[in-house]
Structure formats: structure tokens, C-alpha cells
Symmetry: C2
Amino acid sequence: MKLYGYWRSTTSYRVRIALNLKGLDYDQTSVDLVAGEQQDADYATLNPGQGVPTLVLDDGTVLTQSLAIIDYLDATYPDPAFLPTDAVARAKVLAAAHTIAMDIHPVNNLKVVGRLKSEHGASTDDSINWMHHWMTDGFHAYQGLLPEGPIFSFSDTPTLADICLVAQLYNAHRWGVDMTPFQRLLQIEEAAMKLPAFEAARPENQPDAT
Amino acid sequence: MKLYGYWRSTTSYRVRIALNLKGLDYDQTSVDLVAGEQQDADYATLNPGQGVPTLVLDDGTVLTQSLAIIDYLDATYPDPAFLPTDAVARAKVLAAAHTIAMDIHPVNNLKVVGRLKSEHGASTDDSINWMHHWMTDGFHAYQGLLPEGPIFSFSDTPTLADICLVAQLYNAHRWGVDMTPFQRLLQIEEAAMKLPAFEAARPENQPDAT
């Protein structure tokens, strides 16, 4: 399998964690988002959304969108499972994952923040405030969905929610979000980072990290 | 089941379509997003994300996030299925659904566009341009993921992708997006609107429509 991604992209980070948790080997090809490589014609043919990640399977099948890729991995390599089997429990994990993947990440995406600057005159400080706002809001919502007790968000093994959370927390630290109200999230991050699958997936540990 | 939603919310619209396609009865409670009712303390306890939709099951279980709710419905009431069983085919439908649900909708959300105006001085025209931009971009990506041939996006019966698409197209029409490049999407919408499940779910047909 070949993963097209970018070290600092939190959606690429999600897929790296998932591949590592499943114990799968993969090659990485860097798509430099800051240099705009996602808009290159060849890459845009592979991924019409002109984003990362893209996973190309050994038979040439092209998969896009991080959570769709992770769904494929979970269906094809069921152990360890990223979602509970019970329909309600599964929906609760998905809701937390989507709180990160839909309510926070897209609004803070490089291209969205870029447009905020280019079209709406946002300064660097304005754009950092914008990102802080959506992360703080979303982390409160996420924390409000968590049960008491387990090591990770919903259980003693990581689920899709933890995969999304840990990747987003990288971004929160990068941009200096005040994490004081989110001690539970930091505990989950600490537990995750003890697992080699998460540690190896960290942005800083990727070949294209600068 | 009780659905907390809002007639113009496209995420509520998705869940209404899903409930109707499954042939399920449900009561609706309106949460007026424009009046800010999603921030009322009682509602925020039910849905820490302070958004719609929320589905409360007959046993009191509370589900949030539209695609997590639809996942629950699909798992619990499997006929008609919203996703293929093959892992690759399923990931392709999910990728298209997420192109709408992650790349378009969150960035054009009422609260995001509201902040663009309140914090970044965007005029009404600016905010309409913002919405047009992300819809146009995302519809190109969505169209690029579609196979040739079927009536709906991926098959001759609607999938999760169509549910997300039709709800987003309501928004596109509402804000006057130029749909000339997206004839395939309009064909899908036309086919969907012939089905009573989609027609009954339309924003205009809801009790809280004004």
C-alpha cells in the first residue's frame, strides 16, 4: 500500500495511526501542502478533492478521505477493531470522532484558514484565534460525550474517536490552545503516546518532517 | 423516536431522509438555530455539541452527529442498506459522502459563517461568496468521484452519498450556486426527489418551516 500524505496534516496522521494499529506495512509519498503539490495535475487525477490523504492499494485501487480509508482498513483487517459492534455504542464513538472530524478539523483546514487570510484580511493572530475558537468549542463538545472510567475515550483500547482526537491534539499544541479545561483529553493523549502505533505516526517522526 | 432538528439544517435534512427511507415513524421537535435555541441549557445537556440533529430513541438513548445517527439507523434497520457490503465499494461511497459532510458543510455552517461576519467583518455578499466557493470546490470533487452509469451517485438505489448530496443541493439552490458544471448532480437530485422519502424530508415540508 502507498499512502500519499503530509507530515503535518492531521488527516494523514489519522490514517498513519490506523495503519500502524493494524500492523500494516506501507510506503509514504509526501504531498507538500504548503508548496501546493496537492493541486498538481497528476495528483488531482488521483484525488479529485486535491487533499490528503490518499491510499493506493496494491491492486491500484485508490481510496480518499481519511475516515473512509480507515473504514476500509477496519473492514478488511478487523483486529484490533476501531469501533464497537453494538449499534448504539458504535454510534457514540462515531459521534465523538465526527465532533473532531466535522466540527473542528474542516473549519481549521489549511485551505480554509488560507482563504480567511487572502479574502477576508485575517492576520496571523486572527487566524490563530479562529483555530483556537473552533478547537476549544469542539473539545468541550467532545469531552461532554465521554463516559467516566476507561483509559481511552470509550474503552481501554483505542477507537476511531481516539485516532481523531490524538491527531487534533497535535494541532492544538502546535497552535497553543489553552488545554487547562481539557485534562481528560490530555490523559487520553498520554495513554495513546505510550503505544508504538501512535508514537510512530507522530508528525515529527515522518520522513518529510522538517 | 424523537428527532430534534431544524427545517433548514442540512444535517437534520440528512437524518429525515434516512428515517423516511427506512420507513420509520418519528416525532419532530424544532430547535430554532437562528434564535439560538441550540444553546439553551436543557438542549446543551442533551447535545454537548449544541447543534442539530439529535435523535432520542424510545428507550431514552441520545444519539448526536448526523452521520453517526444514520450509521445507527443503517445497522439497526438494514433494509434498504445505505452502504455497499464490499469494503472498497463502501469506502468509495463514504468518501463521496464525506466530501459533502466534511469538506463543504462544516465550513458553511451557520455558526462558522456567523463568525466570519462578526469577527472578520464579512458582509452578506462576502459570506455568500465564501459559501459558493466551498460548494463549487466540493461539488467538483464529488463529481470526480462518481462512476458512469447508475441513476444515483453509485447505484440505482440511494446511498449515504446521495443523502448527503441532496441535502447540500438544497443549500446550493438556496444561495444561488451556479450549477451549470454540475449537471450530473442535478440528475441525481431529480431522481431522488421522485422518491417519497426525499420529498417528505424537504425543508419546505417540515412543520417548523416558515
